[in-house]
């Protein structure tokens, strides 16, 4: 990776007063080692902490989702390209990987199962090259529309080519094929998890490395000012196209891992709802920071598996949170975390945590009121046969009586009003703190 030539280094050593730019630019290595080490350790020991079969399955899904969301953010957060059709690349790669698994079983394609995700990656890159040149001609709304169109096109073709897509039932394969390597057959889910964990770590590292390369930086420049990029010598279209292909590669890896994990694939993996999920959760996690999509991926699996069990209205809650984030926190949870870390670094978090408490408390009250009413409505709709009573957060509510409705709506109204009060106070405090931080930064600069 290093392109420094020996003579420069030697002359730098001979004249220590002239510090080469390269040395100055390197950010503190210790923090980075800690972060990556922590990530690797977390991946390693997670199954020891969460060892039920449901939890292992969720961990596997989280690993896959991390790769998928990070690949999506290469387009959205790093390139400013809003895609409504990312599932096309993960989905098609899953189909290709399933067929590759069948190929291993039949002996036509003798590669180890552990390399299937790479097959998926190549498939993803292939389709990205095929469709990407025209997709990336424009950015912004035309790009979004063309990804939508291609997504609908490919999803609609599922029933038209049953040889490849397997029609309504999809295609299934067996992952315990080929020769076992050191006793690893990928039969037990824990073995699959560790395979996924390895690929997740390597893919994350690779995608992070990409952000520190010339192409990665020019991709950011294209996001910020596509016109100016052309005037400094770069072909904007080509930058987008290459990034699109690389994103497709990693999306394909996620697809391949998915094929191994579920051993079956059908048209649903190409559906617009899945593309929407990538968009929603990557944005929620935070598109402006590298690790934001990791948070989004974890949320995606948790919401999909656990939250959907808890309440029928989970999609509604999700949608409302999404709307709220777009309006008030477009950098997602990651940016919220970073902003507060910054405040903490300047020692001012102590002042504002009471505001956070007030915000959380009033929001909770409002949400409880709203949720109670929503749950009662759903109960009446779907569980009428069970009678009008339902359990909500430990209490019994009678959806037929007026009390529960009155109480819930009162809670909602009061919660909203108090939230607004708390929000204004918080904004005022936040503004003060930001000003103080700015002054402090200027003071330090002058030193």
């Amino acid at each position: 990776m290093a392109t420094a030539n020996p003579t420069t280094r030697a002359s730098a050593a001979a004249a220590p007063a002239v510090v080469p730019a390269a040395a100055v630019r390197r950010t503190p290595a210790r923090g980075r080692v800690l972060a990556w080490g922590g990530f690797a350790v977390a991946l390693l020991i997670a199954p020891l902490l969460f060892h039920s079969s449901l939890e292992i399955s969720m961990l596997s899904q989280i690993g896959i989702a991390i790769v998928a969301c990070l690949s999506y953010n290469m387009l959205l957060g790093q390139g400013g390209m809003l895609s409504f059709g990312h599932a096309v690349y993960t989905g098609l790669a899953t189909f290709v990987s399933i067929h590759a698994l069948l190929g291993i079983a039949s002996g036509a394609f003798p590669i180890p199962v552990s390399l299937i995700p790479l097959v998926g990656g190549l498939a993803g890159a292939f389709f990205a090259v095929l469709l990407g040149y025209v997709t990336t001609k424009k950015a912004g709304t035309p790009f979004a529309m063309i990804t939508l169109g291609i997504g609908e096109l490919v999803a609609a073709m599922v029933l038209m080519v049953p040889e490849f897509f397997g029609g309504e039932g999809g295609v299934s394969a067996n992952r315990t094929v080929g020769k076992p390597f050191m006793g690893i057959t990928f039969g037990p889910p824990i073995q699959v998890y560790y395979l996924i964990a390895i690929y997740t770590f390597l893919s994350t590292a690779a995608m992070y490395a990409f952000t520190r390369t010339p192409l990665g930086r020019m991709l950011n420049a294209v996001r910020d000012n596509p016109e100016r990029v052309e005037f400094v010598g770069y072909d904007t279209h080509w930058v987008r196209f290459m990034a699109f292909t690389i994103s497709g590669f990693f999306a394909g890896i996620a697809g391949g891992l998915g094929a191994i994990n579920t051993e079956i694939v059908n048209g649903e993996v190409l559906h617009a709802t899945r593309s929407g999920a990538y968009l929603l959760f990557t944005f929620l996690g935070g598109a402006t920071v590298f690790f934001g999509p990791i948070i989004g991926a974890v949320l995606m699996v948790i919401c999909g598996v656990l939250l959907s069990e808890l309440t029928k209205a989970w999609l509604l809650y999700l949608g409302l949170i999404f709307l709220f984030m777009v309006m008030y926190a477009p950098g997602g949870f990651a940016s919220l975390i970073l902003m507060n870390l910054r405040v903490a670094a300047f020692g001012k978090l102590g002042r504002i945590w009471t505001s956070y408490l007030a915000l959380a408390g009033t929001a909770l009250a409002a949400l409880t009121g709203a949720a109670a009413m929503i749950e009662m409505v759903y109960h009446r709709q779907l569980n009428e046969a069970l009678g009008p009573e339902l359990r909500f957060m430990g209490a019994t509510l009678n959806s037929a009586g007026v009390d529960a409705w009155f109480g819930a709506s009162w809670l909602l109204v009061v919660g909203v009003v108090l939230f607004e009060v708390a929000r204004r106070h918080y904004l005022h405090q936040w503004g003060e703190i930001q000003e103080e931080i700015e002054k402090e930064i200027k003071r330090r600069e002058a030193l």
Partner: protein, 344 residues
């Protein structure tokens, strides 16, 4: 012959419905640069509100109240939500309307349930507007309303009589759409606010520089666009089916119409509606496939190749993806759209 006429008229009514929907979307898209992802959801809300109203007061009050209600909802959304994200750029605007479409579908399912609801057209619109009676003896005749039963039955085995009714609901759809078209045209060309809107369609910055309260105009246009969608919803919901999936079925098609027709161009939206509506209506009825083409060209295919599913696909099976194929082709070859005046 009568099949062609009735199909053509059915197709035309679908075209006009598409245009009702896409004209609102084009107005919003052209003026504000926002592609309102939730437009089809407002269509759905219009249908459901009219359904609820019709359960108490019958169909006709709903026809007036529902669009107004939807328009107000749209204006409120613009004022309190959309306006807030203008400063974050087009991506954020797309995201918020995308989120809204999501939330609206969930709210509709919450309030009205997940299955289709019975939203029938009013008494006066049930049955055919007119019937084409084609008799092998007496030729083609037009009968207003439903043709009486004896007319449709052959007198004896040698006479062939075919009765093709044209539903009154479809006719009403065309009528409302045409009235709306005319009203819109009059508004845009004859009133002052219409002039402002027209200029803002192609030069929004200039209009603001001239001192017009562009944010208020935006709110009005967004509300009006949503009201149009709501009106289309009342008609569409009563003619077709009112269910939570109705937003999705029509949603992607109108995006295609707007993008294919071109930004800043209502005429483009009309031409694109025509193109896509007619193609969809007729494609569903045609059974030709690639195999037919290949046979016509006298090319011999091996049995295995002839069995390949792609070749066996008839046009009717491919019909659903034709609009998207169009979209992709237009974005490749003519990103401005057919009659667009500016790009995204």
């Amino acid at each position: 012959m009568e099949f062609f006429t009735i199909s053509m008229l059915n197709g035309l009514s679908y075209v006009l419905l598409l245009f009702m929907l896409s004209s609102g979307l084009t107005l919003i898209f052209s003026m504000m640069g926002v592609l309102n992802f939730a437009h089809a959801s407002f269509y759905m809300v219009g249908a459901y509100i009219a359904y609820t109203i019709s359960r108490y007061t019958g169909f006709w009050p709903g026809l007036v109240i529902a669009p107004i209600a939807v328009g107000v909802l749209g204006a409120l959304f613009e004022r309190y939500c959309l306006r807030r994200v203008h400063k974050f750029g087009h991506v954020a605007e797309l995201l918020i309307t995308f989120g809204l479409s999501f939330v609206i579908v969930e709210l509709v399912m919450l309030i009205w349930g997940r299955t289709a609801v019975e939203f029938p057209p009013p008494e006066s619109l049930r049955g055919p507007a007119f019937t084409l009676v084609n008799s092998s003896v007496e030729g083609l005749r037009l009968v207003w309303g439903a043709a009486p039963a004896p007319m449709c039955q052959a007198a004896d085995a040698t006479v062939r009589v075919v009765c093709s009714p044209f539903p009154a609901t479809r006719g009403f759809m065309m009528l409302v759409a045409l009235c709306m078209l005319v009203a819109l045209w009059l508004l845009l060309t004859r009133t002052r606010i219409g002039l402002v809107i027209q200029s803002a369609l192609t030069h929004p910055d200039m209009v603001e520089a001239l001192g017009h309260n562009v944010p208020r105009v935006f709110m009005l246009v967004f509300g009006a666009g949503c009201a149009l969608a709501g009106l289309a919803g009342v008609i569409g919901g009563s003619t077709f089916v009112t269910e939570p999936a109705m937003a999705a079925t029509v949603g992607s098609v109108i995006f295609v119409v707007v993008v294919v027709g071109g930004m800043g161009s209502l005429a483009g939206a009309f031409v694109a509606s025509l193109l896509i509506g007619v193609i969809q209506t007729f494609a569903v009825a045609l059974d030709y496939s690639m195999l037919n083409v290949v046979k016509a060209l006298h090319i011999d295919l091996s049995p295995a190749a002839a069995d390949f599913s792609l070749f066996k696909l008839s046009i009717s099976q491919v019909a659903p993806i034709l609009p998207y194929l169009f979209l992709v082709l237009i974005l490749i070859f003519r990103p401005k759209g057919l009659l667009g005046t500016r790009e995204g």
